[in-house]
Subunit: 286 residues, 2 copies
Amino acid sequence: MQTRIAIIGYGNIGQAVEQAVLAAEDLQLAGIFHHNDNLDNIDADVAALCTPTREVPAYAERLLQRGICTVDSFDIHGQIGDLRARLTPVATAHGAVSIIAAGWDPGSDSVVRALLTAIAPKGLTYTNFGPGRSMGHTVAAKAIPGVKNALSMTIPLGTGIHRRMVYIELEEGADFHEVERLLLADDYFAHDETHVVAVPSVDALNNVAHGVHLERHGVSGSTHNQRFEFNMSINNPALTGQVLAACARAAVRLRDQQRFGAYTMIEIPPVSLLPGDAERWVRELV
Amino acid sequence: MQTRIAIIGYGNIGQAVEQAVLAAEDLQLAGIFHHNDNLDNIDADVAALCTPTREVPAYAERLLQRGICTVDSFDIHGQIGDLRARLTPVATAHGAVSIIAAGWDPGSDSVVRALLTAIAPKGLTYTNFGPGRSMGHTVAAKAIPGVKNALSMTIPLGTGIHRRMVYIELEEGADFHEVERLLLADDYFAHDETHVVAVPSVDALNNVAHGVHLERHGVSGSTHNQRFEFNMSINNPALTGQVLAACARAAVRLRDQQRFGAYTMIEIPPVSLLPGDAERWVRELV
């Protein structure tokens, strides 16, 4: 029995979900819906929401109301708890499951943070991102008047502190210093060390590589100096798409167990992300 | 409402569980039972089994039959699936939950392996242990005739290959070369590069530090070269004791949700290892 997945939005992430679905024997593509397509005819177990992050809540609500499970990589950290609270009653009322914030951060990194907090309850965790393109900061930079195209790179400086390297292609006649002033005053950039660099072509710099260096130093019981780190060097949309495909599988499983509601990845069993019977994975991975 | 934990067995691990329980506000010690104590008067939500690993299955069965949840760090990788199959019907019949193989490997490392397999489904995972003392190999070395005391250190050589450095204190009159010959022929050592070193005092070498370097190189969707690593440098019994305490909390939660049975750590939500409401952790960690 295959899980039927519809893809909503067909940018980088939507295309990556498609590749992950095609590579998995237990998953089946149930249609690709471009942004603004009519969704009335959608017929799927679960929809992977690959729209801009701000449109996720409305899409999720609409689909859950029709009993279709949803997965998304909603990535505004401060609003995830609110999104969960908003979608929980909708999913519950319509016999569906939504797995939210299912990318790599938030997402798989969140699972690592939860695990490390459980096994060393006192201590500090630092999540260091990059080097890699920040989608949110890139969009914010592109919105500055006078900017034709932009790329905001996140550079890890350690202990959770980051530098922003913002490469901009100016519109004809735009003044670099005025653009720089507006950008540095933008709330996205005002709190970090930010450097603005004018370049002839942003397209020539693009690269979807990204990474993380997550560290925890903590205390287990009464024993200090327990040290942990998690590192990744990855293709960003490919990883996000794969996480969404794995969570689509998990969402349908939770629905079939009648455990309706909205969940983040720290609230679901890791084995539910994997195809087939849990017993196989217990014997293979534990 | 506190979770009441009894500790069965009071060696390194039992003492570490005690420290983890004392450090957690939501956990309460419900007694410490030495090996071979009478368990008839045990009154607890959950028992942490800190006995030698081979005695775990019988203790778990006895306690589950009385409706007491159990957690253990059973560590014979090839037998975990069978232990789960054996304890599942017992726990289910008596309204209890058992979380098995709950240490760091098997245990928290298993969670990392499951997560990485889900987010990069094709590829290779290497788990490199150490440097640190292997309990199983140390016990095997101590059992060789002529060995008064022993310490078997695991040295990681990469790609999951390990060297065994075995430090032995000889009994008076024992012949080193005969002891070495017997040890190298033992099934515990026959498959790895093993070096035997005679020392005047094994006690002078003892150190409970351990570590892991876990790597996965894999494919997400159709994208290759996704690279992940997880490293730890830890006090071994302290970490195991903390994992057991966290899993004791999770076991009682699953019991309260009437999800009776036997589970490994890859089958339980990571947030269930943490104290208090999931919502707090969603807002803090996701």
